[in-house]
């Protein structure tokens, strides 16, 4: 960034490979926890919303409001309560996944054709088995689409958590900014984009794999 300096100093990269690997690991870990917990919470809330329709408005409102709060602000607001810890980061990250996950789980289950549900009930499916054996498998494409969006968004947000003391690739970007050093800056930035794309592709392939009937035409 200073004149004359190359954009990327490869010797630095070579010398810091284990640091880079560590940050990637942290990044993936933070993302996995957030999406995993988010999925559980969203699933529980979705079942409640599907069962008690009146819950939909307040739930969407709260999740939507959480989503609107800028990430930096949300993390910053949590710091006085839970400190500069991984918990702070995860609370914020999980909160951001909720809107899209709930919307897609509820929407996916609702999009199961009415006649399929009626036929299943008429044949003697209990409500529980109906959910697990009919509604969820059919809702899977929409749900996985939601997981994709939630995961990609989370990967982006994890970079911001570096500001509240968590690691990940954002850490590299931060030290790049603080030290006026473009190498870690660009390495962190490029790798977080690459990670997002890689995971997106992996999830698309997973989605195709678990829905064989969608391909049979």
């Amino acid at each position: 960034m200073t004149a004359g300096e190359p954009l990327v100093r490869w010797d630095w990269v070579a010398g810091h490979l284990d640091e880079i690997a560590l940050r990637i690991g942290e990044h993936v870990e933070l993302t996995a926890i957030a999406v995993g917990v988010g999925l559980l919470v969203a699933f529980a809330l979705s079942l409640l919303v599907l069962r008690y329709g009146w819950l939909e408005q307040p739930t969407t409102f709260v999740a939507g409001t959480l989503y609107t709060i800028p990430s930096l602000a949300l993390f910053a607001l949590l710091v006085p309560y839970t400190g500069l810890t991984i918990l702070t980061a995860e609370i914020g990250l999980v909160g951001y996944t909720l809107l899209i996950l709930i919307r897609n789980i509820v929407g996916g289950i609702r999009s199961v054709p009415a006649e399929v549900r009626e036929a299943a009930l008429g044949m003697g499916y209990s409500r529980g088995r109906l959910l697990w054996e009919v509604e969820l498998p059919l809702a899977l494409p929409v749900i996985v689409a939601g997981i994709r969006i939630a995961t990609i968004t989370t990967i982006g947000l994890v970079t911001v958590t570096a500001l509240i003391g968590q690691g990940g690739l954002g850490y590299l970007i931060l030290i790049g900014i603080q030290r006026f050093f473009s190498t870690p800056l660009l390495v962190g930035a490029v790798l977080s984009v690459a990670l997002a794309i890689a995971i997106d592709v992996a999830l698309v392939l997973t989605q195709r794999a678990v829905t064989p009937w969608a391909r049979a035409k």
Binding site: A120, L121, G122, M123, G124, Y125, V134, P137, L138, T211
Partner: protein
């Protein structure tokens, strides 16, 4: 493949919804074991509601529905439904399961052994005119409308139910396919002998398929009789018009005029 039928009795069955609208009023008639009973009437007349009281998708506000003398409300709903075949207009095949898996649904729910299920699926696909070798592994999305209808019927028959409920089962296909499906269903019924209640808005279909016809109007039973009797002695003007007696008379007139009838 002998299969008993069960007697289905409606005993003063009424259904009123929360808003006060009455869908069924004092419905009383008995479908003998092994008979096909067609439920006809104008839309909103209560025929689908009546059908659904048999497998408790609708529960009567008063009165009883009996299967072989047993009140359906005294049997656990899920267990009841597994013993009744149910075919609806758009079938509702599970898109995420193959044809074989669809047909095997109720036997699996009930817990039959694998071999028995496999044999039963092949037997049924044959019965409905679908070659198991070609169709068993296909998904519903790969089938034509007529093929889906057949799978729907096979699925409903899988667990050897004594009673079968059908709600406009052949309405969603074109007339040529419909006629073929009707004939084939009559053939299947000959072999199996289960009691069938089916709803249709097509009077001709009711006359053709039904051993007995129940005409519902405004939730009430206008007439319950054999098809011939419906034509010969309609209970009231509504039934007469509904059955289209004028239509018949006009046709006879025309044929007579053309010198084709004495």
């Amino acid at each position: 493949m002998a299969q008993r039928g069960a007697t289905v009795t409606f005993e003063d069955v009424s259904k009123t919804y929360a808003g006060g609208s009455a869908a069924l009023v004092d419905l009383t008639f008995t479908v003998p074991s092994g008979a096909i009973c067609a439920l006809v009437g104008p839309s909103g007349g209560g025929k689908t509601t009546a059908l659904k009281t048999v497998n408790r998708l609708v529960e009567p506000t008063s009165g009883r529905v009996l299967i072989d003398g047993v009140d359906v409300m005294t049997v656990e709903a899920v267990a009841l439904r597994r013993r009744i075949g149910y075919v609806i207009q758009h079938i509702g095949l599970f898109p995420h399961r193959t044809v074989a898996q669809n047909v095997a649904t109720v036997p699996e729910l009930v817990g039959w052994p694998r071999d028995r299920i496999r044999a039963r699926v092949a037997e049924l696909l044959d019965l409905v005119g679908l070659d198991p070798a070609r169709y068993a592994w296909r998904y519903p999305a790969q089938l034509s409308g007529g093929e889906r209808q057949r799978v729907g019927v096979a699925r409903a028959l899988a667990a050897e139910p004594p009673v079968m409920l059908m709600d406009e089962p052949f309405a969603a296909v074109d007339p040529i396919v419909r006629e073929r499906l009707q004939d084939e269903f009559l053939r299947i019924h000959e072999r199996l002998g289960m009691t069938v209640l089916f709803v249709t808005h097509d009077v001709d279909e009711a006359m053709k398929m039904g051993d007995a016809v129940a005409v519902l109007q405004g939730g009430r039973l206008a007439q319950f009789a054999l098809p011939d009797e419906l034509l010969a002695r309609p209970a009231n003007d509504f039934v007469r018009e509904f059955v289209g007696l004028d239509r018949w008379r006009k046709r006879v007139e025309r044929l007579r005029k053309a010198g084709l009838l004495a």
